[in-house]
Subunit: 69 residues, 6 copies
């Protein structure tokens, strides 16, 4: 599958924390930078997301903001 | 200002392309990884975003998905 | 690639309209229901999206609202 | 009320699962296709969402992605 | 129609600016505060949005961030 | 920090309710209007968000819809 989302950053899962319905998954995408995703518990189970596994974080361009100091 | 968005990745702007109302800004966040943001032209002007400048991409955790091969 | 987004609806592209930076792609997902996606022109080119082709609309559960009469 | 969101798909609620703050509501929109919404528990109570009731899923076009095989 | 989105702020449209596909609509919600919406041109036409008209801005709670100084 | 998000409304926090992973923060932005944000518990702790404190709600223009009666 190839998706329209412009941002697809490969990395390694460093934490999976499930809540009652919403899980937080943290992925290290290189250079020590961590990206946090809030997804459903169901998706965590469905994709078998586990600490240590490779994964890609996917973000639609219209969901990205830019900040300056 | 400190914002709740969990993902704040520093980098350098490599391209600013304005449309009629929506602009695309591309930021290199290290390791050669590029993040594309679709923001308003007005924000580009307001923040003075220009190729070569430092900038931080900001993404809310609930807008991040995870994919596996 | 398998993605965490809970909503993946298969259909056929019925219209691709490019703007200056943002394109609108309309996909018929069966029963005559049309879903409109606003994505980058770049994604349209990258995926080769064309009227008549099969495609899947993908939507994160946290972006879905519910309404009642 | 008439809303700008381009995607409004009518269906029937097949599941309401509340978490501590976030609920998952699943709506069958015809042809056996299910759409999952992650909304607040408060919205579930406010709208009286219940399995078996009719409901419309509402999605902004800028939150829809497109994928191809 | 009653929608799950927690934030529904009534106001008056102060500007409608159409792009090629994406329009920016600015609504004054009281106390001189302006909210900007980026929606499709098609939605502007469909709802007949015009400067001076009353309108409600609608925002899903999961799309709201919080910042402190 | 200056951010591209077009909507930044100042107000006072009137409620912070944590879930297992997702918190709901309610901010009164004047004229008695309340905005609800669904953010991570981690962000609540990181920013020290507390009832009674001043805060700014931040919303990207592409996440705002418009409705009419």
């Amino acid at each position: 599958m190839k998706i329209s989302a412009r941002n697809q950053l490969k990395g390694r899962i460093v934490e999976v924390r499930k809540g009652t319905t919403t899980a937080h998954v943290r992925v290290e995408i290189g250079s020590g930078q961590i990206v946090t995703a809030a997804i459903t518990n169901e998706a965590v189970d469905d994709l078998g997301l586990k600490e240590g596994n490779m994964a890609t974080v996917v973000i639609k361009a219209s969901d990205v903001m830019v900040a300056v100091d």
